[in-house]
């Protein structure tokens, strides 16, 4: 209902009282809503309502996700050695000679194991991309490795077609991520074994790590020990500590 351009002072007094009461009710409602949000049952370290919004955001942006949309690539000259930011799952020594990549199916069944030579036998792809950390910094770096999709295709015959997520963990299972299948099968998602043409060093995730410009660094797990193809989301180290499970860019 449109408001009149002018009111008599009597009308104004009624209006004024009503406005103040409405305003007070709105403030009270806002305050109660804010308290309820803060006090809502936590879902992995953030209020459950906010976790729901993370999931809504995920459904919006994963719907907009296109396999053929490539993240921007940069000139090789812009690339530098990536700064090291985390050592979760990498506190033990690793024996690269005995390292292998274990592959598990959705029910936890063991499907296979690979040496680094197996991964290197797949077509090698190189990319110079901007790595983004969820903390806010970004750096252009260069990765080489096998496409995860090529690796997954080795198991094409043995995997059910309702796989939706991939779970990857360090050999000691102390660091682990869960990534949606669309991202994992994207052309720019690599099982990387080189940075700037050099084999990965320990701090950057030797012998094999995930590299993709489609996710924040928290998803790009270093020193991968196992891969599990799943029908649902698996555990996620930082997701469980309050971050967005999707963490897509």
């Amino acid at each position: 209902m449109p408001e009149p351009e002018e009111l008599t002072m009597d009308e104004y007094r009624v209006r004024s009282r009503r406005s103040v009461l409405t305003g007070a009710a709105a403030m009270l409602g806002g305050y109660v809503g804010w308290r309820r949000l803060q006090d809502s049952a936590a879902d992995h370290n953030i209020p459950g309502v906010l976790r729901d919004v993370h999931e809504t955001n995920e459904s919006i942006w994963s719907t907009l996700f296109r396999d053929d949309h490539q993240a921007k690539t940069f000139g090789r000259a812009d690339a530098s050695i990536l700064q090291v930011n985390g050592f979760q799952g990498m506190r033990n020594d690793i024996d690269l000679a005995t390292w292998q990549l274990n592959v598990l199916g959705p029910d936890g069944e063991r499907l296979g194991a690979h040496s680094l030579a197996d991964i290197q036998a797949l077509p090698m792809h190189e990319m110079t991309i901007q790595h983004k950390c969820i903390e806010g910094w970004a750096q252009v770096t260069n990765w080489s490795g096998a496409r995860f999709s090529d690796f997954m295709d080795l198991y094409a015959d043995r995997l059910p077609d309702d796989i939706t997520d991939v779970y990857l963990a360090t050999p000691d299972d102390r660091y682990y991520v869960s990534v949606d299948l669309a991202t994992m099968r994207h052309q720019q998602t690599l099982l990387a074994y080189q940075m700037l043409d050099q084999p990965l060093d320990d701090a950057h995730g030797a012998p094999l790590r995930l590299a993709t410009p489609l996710k924040y660094g928290i998803k790009q797990i270093k020193r991968i020990g196992s891969v599990q193809f799943r029908r649902d989301k698996g555990g996620d180290f930082w997701g469980e500590r309050g971050y967005d499970w999707y963490a897509g860019l």
């Binding site: 351009e5 002018e6 004024s16 921007k72 967005d244 860019l249």
Partner: protein
Amino acid sequence: MTSVLDSTDEPNVDNRRAVLRHRRPSRWMHWINFPLITIMIWSGLRIYWAEDIYALGILDWEWFSFFPDWFNEKLGLERRLARGLAFHLSFGWLFAINGLAYGLYCAKSGEWRHLVPDRDGIRNSVGVVLHDLGIRQDAPNQDGRYNSAQQLSYTIIVALGGLALLTGFAIFKPTQLSLLVTLLGGYETARLIHFWVCLAFVGFFVIHVVQVIRAGRSNFTSMVTGYEVLDPEDDENEDA
């Protein structure tokens, strides 16, 4: 001098009138924006803390670093990145919806005509600022609801709201919205702009509150009730 008590005893003495200043949608969206922006800035600062690289200075000389430890400590901004992100990326939608609703409302109702300064407005607004600062004696004439300086600052703050949204989405989904990132000058530039937009909001808030206090009570209450009470002698001013 007649007191207020005396005058209420006599009928017809109250010949003031109440004129519509702010329509209902404007009022609601204005007040809803206040807590929303507060939450956005607070949660945004928690995100910024995780990579607090901006400072003012020249070359190697750093004059002020955003932000000093006491500031982060006092406001509880430290080590709250995950919560900061959760609040920021949730309430950001409400800020976006409120802002888009306001834009649509302004476009549809013609309210923008009161808001956007005309060609003389920018020059005139300098005069208003000089007057407000006490440098210039006479007040520049005002032919609409807002004076030129108000028009300019309100237009800028609405535009900054839009810029906050654009840079925010660019940082949020830099790969999927890569075209937007490119238009804004890159990922890191978008983050820097987003930060300065935040500071501009804080600066606007301070000036806005000072201006409202100076403008007096009936100006403030008009944002609550919608109506500003005018004395009869104000009329000449009003119709000029």
